[in-house]
């Protein structure tokens, strides 16, 4: 593919979602009641901070969806990690070690997903559906059916709206999302591994015939996604200041929706990091705008539902041209 063509295709891929985001921003900033508040830096900062958890999980989910898989256990995995961080801090571990524990559990759950999918030859939907229940149950078990209060540490500074060294401008959590997004975009587009991921999602059989170890690729992708959920769990703990086993119930659907709105195709082979992030922000700004307007929750649920359908329809339209 010629570079010019390539850039053009990339542009059109994220154009739909991008227009959606601009529309959402434009509409709310034109609302007279909140026009002077909505696009303020303080508000944008807090919306982005609120989106960190979904964004992190969605980075991993993009890879999974590009391979043609799905991970329903993402939100439960996040909750398990969140609880384990609090639990470890209460055991007296130093905060960084507690965070590592959360991250490692996330990776482990992801690894099991990948392992079971490739070894048992069971479709990802079923394996991760099972894992969703197991991780959530494990989180409640560790937390003894309660939330876990943990003493405040520097971990809880990761998600403040006003970070301590002022030159950071935004919370460390947001920086993490930015850096990891760039890395993941490069990984997906510019590396051999990224090509393999896309090949597995486009046509697994052909990929295998071309010499790609598809099972290994999948296990790596699920483990990677698990690590992102673990990281999101740490960020959730940072924000809540408690380990909450019931947190993020149903969030997996928001995560999947973000990827899909951003141009990811559930049949695999398609999806971009930039698109996914735009998908995340469309939903977050909608939620934020509706709250600031004081609109009831059912409005935003209906709107987001409609947007998912519209986004996927758009995606199909684009495909039918190609």
């Amino acid at each position: 593919m010629k570079p010019k063509n390539f850039i053009w295709k990339r542009l059109t891929t994220s154009l739909g979602p991008f227009i959606g985001l601009i529309l959402v921003l434009a509409i709310f900033s034109l609302m007279p009641e909140i026009s002077d508040r909505f696009l303020r830096l303080a508000n944008i900062k807090s919306v982005v901070t609120q989106s960190v958890m979904v964004a992190l999980c969605a980075l991993g989910m993009t890879f999974i969806i590009v391979t043609g898989g799905i991970d329903l256990s993402a939100a439960s995995n996040l909750a398990l990690s969140c609880v384990l961080v609090a639990f470890s801090i209460n055991l007296g571990l130093p905060p960084w070690l507690a965070a590592m524990a959360g991250l490692a559990t996330g990776g482990l759950v992801g690894f099991f997903n990948g392992f079971l999918i490739t070894r048992l030859k069971v479709v990802p939907f079923i394996v991760t559906l099972g894992m969703m229940g197991m991780a959530r149950g494990a989180a409640k078990w560790v937390a003894k059916n309660q939330k876990i209060d943990a003493p405040l540490t520097w971990l809880n500074e990761l998600m403040t709206r006003n970070p301590r060294p002022g030159w950071l401008l935004v919370s460390p959590g947001i920086w993490l999302v930015i850096i990891l997004s760039v890395l993941m975009a490069i990984l997906l587009r510019k590396t051999v591994f990224g090509r393999q991921v896309q090949a597995v999602g486009s046509n697994e059989l052909t990929a295998r015939l071309c010499g790609i170890r598809t099972d290994r690729t999948k296990v790596i992708v699920y483990t990677l996604s698990g690590l992102f959920c673990g990281l999101a769990g740490i960020m959730e703990f940072s924000r809540l200041t408690v380990g909450d086993p019931t947190v993020a119930t149903g969030l997996e659907l928001d995560i999947i929706a973000a990827v899909v709105i951003g141009g990811g195709s559930l049949s695999g082979g398609e999806g971009s990091i930039l698109g996914t992030l735009i998908g995340v922000f469309i939903m977050s700004f909608l939620r934020n705008g509706c709250t600031m307007m004081g609109w009831p929750n059912y409005f935003q649920e209906i709107i987001i539902g409609a947007i998912i359908i519209v986004a996927v329809t758009l995606d199909r339209l684009r495909h039918s041209q190609n």
């Binding site: 529309l23 508040r37 303080a42 508000n43 200041t241 934020n288």
Partner: protein, 336 residues
Amino acid sequence: MKNSTSAPKILALLVFSFFWLFSCQAKNSGDTSQSGTKKYQLAVIPKGTTHEYWKAVQAGAEKAGKEFGAQIFWKGPQKEDDRAQQITVVEDFINRRVDGIVLAPLDDRALLRPVDEAGQEGIPVVIIDSNLQGENYISFVATDNYQGGVLAARRLAEVLNGQGDIFLIRYLEGSASTTYREEGFLETMIKDYPKINILVKDQYAGTTTETAYQLTENLLSRFPQVDGIFAPNESSTFGACRALQAAGLAGQVKLVGFDSSAKLIQALRANEIQGLVLQDPVNMGYLGVKTLIDYLEQRPVEKRIDTGVKIATPDNMNDPEIKSLLAPDISEYLKQ
């Protein structure tokens, strides 16, 4: 490229028409935007928006809003009982710079930081319903939940004549108000009624009627000998009640619950429920907003305001006082 230009248009049209529709709807439904600007803009943030209980709180808040000339924004977390989303709602209202916030915190600890942030931004916060750690709020307006649990224990023991096997169905992990009710119930039972045997005391009903229904069904098949049940909020009471009705045990197994709704009143009248502990949610919403306005107008406010608990039984349910608590007249303030 013809198709791809029409595609964003469809998206644009759809999104825009939704917003247009909703902004019209929002203008019609709220009686907020009519007579120019109100004196204060206050956010009232419940734990959820679908329970009858919160509708009554909303009615009280709207009543106070009308009386004192304040515009009320009523907004709960998008998913009922989601701590993270409630934090988001508080932050969003801080960014909107409302004049004050009335908050029913889902968690006594997790909501601490957003409330502190509101304080830093000079936005006063009144806590209602469930308590919050820390001191960064101007008043705590709530039911004495422990006392509610004590009343429930006495009533259940009374209808069981002081002996039998019972379930304590808990509500949700980490929910402070219901935990106090459960503790009040449990401690009174253990201390005052040694002949009552508590079969189950650490099962959680979860947030919906459906989950409470399933839990009760499962417990009933495990312990068919049960004589009485206590459930600490509306959804768990109704779930337990439905399970008893479905099993044909309603009235036979005694049920004492918390809060009221049309269905629960019906069951109370039919003697399928023997007691309902009643809070005064309308008064709680009303006092929450009133306290906030008192503070904004620099009148002195109490740090702790009790809104009272009563118990309704099939016998006293027609007393005027109990009646108004059972079915508060909220239609005047809420246009459904």
